[in-house]
């Protein structure tokens, strides 16, 4: 086995009602330093973490959604979002914030980090991992 493992962070919970989304992101940021093959999965209520226009001033809780846009700088650029989970919640890709990264293998072209996948594709992605962390 090589030194690089495939890590998947599975996000199934909505933001702010509980802390799991925020503390998941904290692991992702620290984990980025370990140079593993990292991907994030958003399914079920986890897709709500990525909505644009979050404004938490009224509830007095820190808005961590801008941090997702910084993930590209940490070489974290595979954010898989499940289409069926969006649809069941009345959301489309347009409701999610734009998250971009610069592809060093393609002359630093700007590319979207969010990849909408079907439930079947999500199951395949999960089945390819070495380590799955659930939040």
């Amino acid at each position: 086995m090589s030194d690089t493992k495939k890590f998947l962070y599975v996000n199934r919970k909505a933001p702010y009602g509980t802390i799991y989304a925020l503390e998941s992101l904290e692991v992702v940021l620290i984990g980025a330093a370990f140079e593993q093959d990292v991907a994030l999965a958003f399914l079920d209520d986890g897709v709500f973490q990525l909505t644009k226009g979050q404004d938490t001033a009224g509830i007095g809780v820190k808005n961590f959604s801008p941090t997702f846009r910084a993930l590209g700088d940490y070489d974290v650029n595979k954010l898989y979002v499940e289409r069926e989970s969006l649809e069941e919640r009345g959301l489309t890709e347009d409701d999610l914030q734009e998250i971009m990264y610069e592809d060093e293998d393609d002359d630093w072209a700007e590319k979207p980090s969010i990849r909408i996948v079907s439930r079947a594709e999500m199951a395949e992605i999960m089945a390819e991992q070495d380590v799955i962390l659930s939040f």
Partner: protein, 130 residues
């Protein structure tokens, strides 16, 4: 009106203690009384003075301590729930032979009877939890 409040989840992990805080502030602003807030289940963890949240986050314990001081709210931490979870005041620590205590200013440890009493003596009771 007299409104009693129960908080039954821990700080930061669940939004309950935050929502309750904004609710109580609004109730007081509208001229209602909030004679007591009762902390049960993991809600007792709100009362620790040892928490050190990041500087860009709210300090839930301090917010409650200040609000209670300003408005004379009786903040009661359930003793049975607190013992299980490691929340002790000076007396309890001594009684249990523990070498430290962690309850913040403004919170007092007492029994579940205080919850029932609050239910009897208030006009409304609102619970915030998971």
């Amino acid at each position: 009106m007299k409104i009693g409040v129960v908080i039954s989840e821990g700080p930061y992990t669940h939004q309950a203690a935050d929502t309750a805080y904004h609710f109580v502030k609004a109730a007081l602003a509208k001229g209602h009384e909030v004679p007591r807030v009762f902390f049960y289940h993991d809600g007792v963890n709100v009362a620790t003075r040892l928490s050190v949240p990041p500087q860009d986050e709210r300090n839930i314990q301090k917010n409650w301590t200040e609000l209670a001081k300003e408005h004379g709210i009786d903040m009661v931490v359930c003793i049975a729930a607190a013992q299980r979870r490691g929340l002790l005041d000076e007396n309890e620590a001594e009684r249990q032979g523990k070498d430290a205590n962690n309850i913040a200013e403004g919170f007092r440890i007492s029994g579940l009877g205080q919850l029932i009493e609050m239910g009897i003596q208030t006009d409304r009771l609102v619970m915030f939890g998971d």
